[in-house]
């Protein structure tokens, strides 16, 4: 038993300590962070960087300070994430229902196409998307980012929701149609509630993926009014004159939404991961 406890403590320390070090650094003034030898306990605790970031979030400037740049990035991530999630739920759920109920060679081939698309790494499409979006004139817009995120999230959402819908008896939808419900009504009133855990899981996974996405916005956006928070943090990180305290506070803030979602998702997590990996 003591061994098991020690092991659990080890897992906790290993998982949490690096993040705690970031948190601690985000609460120290820059001068204290760059002192040698380093001190393990903070002498001064300051929330100044968080205050800067929050102020910039509510009164976004033109992106002249690091805090403003990151605040814009956080807002952009939120916009792109929400739009991608809504499209995933609406288009993806309809498609998932269709794939779950459709019979016929054509549809099963389309379904296989979806499975294959789960294996396409984003590196395969990043260059063509960049060239394409530049040519069409939507490079560095929300639209470009939304479309790119859809490429990786939509097939996964469809798969996830389909695997839930597969467990719902076909008799249920037929009965509803026979009783005079229209198709959209049946989908909304009968199927959506029945498949709610699957839809919620797909939505959360979509938002998580989009929020944490780095390479797409890195390549497909350039101005602070469009670029999401991940490439913005990366740019700040590689800037030699970076305000490290603001950088670390930004990183902590950028970790908050995914952590909350992961916590909510705990129960569904493994099922989602499994269906994403095995079926995908």
């Amino acid at each position: 038993m003591a061994g098991v406890l020690a092991g659990a403590v080890l897992i906790i320390v290993w998982s949490v300590a690096p993040f705690l070090w970031l948190l601690r650094s985000s609460l120290s003034p820059s001068g204290e962070m760059t002192r040698v030898p380093i001190s393990w306990w903070p002498e001064t605790v300051t929330f100044a960087s968080y205050a800067d970031l929050l102020a910039a979030l509510f009164a976004p400037g033109d992106g002249t300070t690091t805090a403003q740049l990151i605040a814009l990035g956080l807002q952009n991530s939120m916009v792109v994430g929400v739009v991608v999630t809504v499209i995933n739920v609406v288009l993806g759920f309809a498609a998932a229902y269709g794939f779950s109920r459709a019979r016929g060679r054509g549809w099963s081939m389309a379904l296989n196409g979806l499975i294959i698309s789960r294996m396409v790494p984003m590196f395969a499409i990043i260059i063509p998307l960049f060239l394409l979006f530049s040519r069409v004139g939507i490079y560095d817009t929300y639209l470009a980012l939304v479309l790119a995120e859809l490429a990786v999230t939509l097939p996964f959402s469809i798969w996830l929701m389909k695997s839930y819908l597969d467990t719902i008896d076909v008799e249920l939808d037929e009965q509803a149609l026979v009783d005079g419900a229209t198709k959209p009504q049946m989908l909304r009133l009968i199927m959506l509630p029945a498949a709610r855990p699957g839809v919620a899981t797909a939505a959360i996974f979509t938002f998580l993926t989009s929020w944490n996405s780095f390479i797409f916005p890195l390549v497909l956006s350039s101005s602070p009014t469009v670029m999401t928070v991940q490439p913005q943090i990366a740019a700040t990180y590689s800037d030699m004159r970076a305000d490290y305290d603001v950088l670390f506070a930004s990183t902590v803030l950028a970790c908050v939404p995914p952590m909350i979602l992961a916590f909510i998702l705990q129960r569904q997590l493994t099922r989602g991961l499994l269906s994403g990996a095995i079926k995908g």
Binding site: A8, I11, I38, P121, I125, E174, D179, F214, P231, M259
Partner: protein, 312 residues
């Protein structure tokens, strides 16, 4: 919207069997609606995924010149002739090995431990969500700061323990950089493996272990003959996911080493990206990334075939 009957609060009423005719009508309506349902999503996937995929292949097979584009394998020839290729290939496979070994060894160890009831089990599972949920950019910021040559916690720790007598720039040495990148990488992906293994472990019926105990099997034998066979699918999933992660590792390298020192941490993903966006060789970059894509897809196809085979 015309409503034939109000379905608000509708529930499948018992004892009203539909006739064959109405049922057939419903089926026909369903068939007609199929494209309306799946069409939009399929069009989006075709447009943003399959079209770029084909476009990318075409790009990699063409070369620009003053007279226009010519078709051929020149980009692939340039890639295979590049002295960086063997290094990039070796590093890509090394990263995959690190990811697979780390996920399986650490992930399985953590899962076995967390499968035993203890007061700290819940807390440990929640703690693992921190690295799991984090973006690779955040992972890079955290570990880059720990590894920092001037003020890093790694330097501080080793110095306080008396193992080094001065702070060092750890990422300036190829081998050390590889080990440190690998550590950060495993930190961020092992929790995924743990979750998969845990769900596999929890699916094992308790009677299996009781029967094994009656047969006087010791801990190791129970692990070998009960646990491992039941975890077969979990192993396969972890294997697929970890190798894909390993093959496609990019963000940590982009942020911490830029593929260096020299080319010592250059992997295919980074090389392809840099070829295109740093050196502007679009077509060669497309060829490198297409080569990587082909490798990744071949690997997943092999695994998927293996997964379909019935359990032994």
């Amino acid at each position: 919207m015309t409503v034939r009957s109000a379905p608000r609060g509708w529930s499948p009423g018992p004892g009203r069997p539909p006739t064959t005719a109405t049922r057939r009508a419903a089926r026909r309506r369903q068939r007609l609606g199929e494209f309306g349902l799946m069409g939009p999503a399929i069009l989006v996937v075709l447009g943003v995924l399959f079209y770029p995929l084909v476009y990318s292949l075409w790009l990699s097979l063409t070369e620009r010149s003053d007279t226009g584009r010519t078709f051929g394998f020149g980009n692939y020839a340039a890639m295979f002739g590049d002295p960086i290729l063997p290094t990039a290939l070796r590093n890509t496979f090394l990263f995959a090995v690190i990811a697979i070994a780390g996920s399986i060894i650490l992930g399985l160890a953590m899962a076995l431990l967390l499968n035993i009831p203890s007061p700290l089990r819940g807390a440990a599972r929640v703690a693992m969500l921190i690295p799991w949920s984090m973006s690779q950019v955040a992972v890079a910021v955290i570990w880059g700061w720990i590894y920092n040559g001037s003020y890093g916690a790694l330097n501080g720790l080793l110095f306080d323990l008396g193992l080094i007598d001065g702070y060092r720039a750890w990422l300036n040495d190829g081998t050390t950089a590889f080990v440190l990148l690998g550590t950060a990488f495993i930190w961020s992906i092992a929790p995924y493996a743990t979750l998969i293994f845990l769900s596999g472990l929890q699916a094992i019926p308790k009677e299996q272990y009781e029967a094994a105990k009656i047969d006087q099997a010791n801990v190791l034998q129970r692990f070998r003959y009960v646990t491992l066979p039941w975890l077969r699918n979990s192993f396969a999933v972890v294997f697929v996911v970890a190798s894909l992660e390993g093959f496609l590792a990019f963000s940590l390298i982009y942020m911490l080493t830029n593929g260096g020192p020299g080319y010592e941490t250059t992997v295919l993903a980074w090389w392809g990206y840099a070829t295109m966006f740093t050196y502007g060789a679009t077509e060669k970059g497309a060829a490198i990334l297409y080569f990587l894509t082909a490798m990744v897809m071949a690997v997943s196809l092999v695994y998927m075939r293996a997964l379909r085979r019935p359990a032994v």
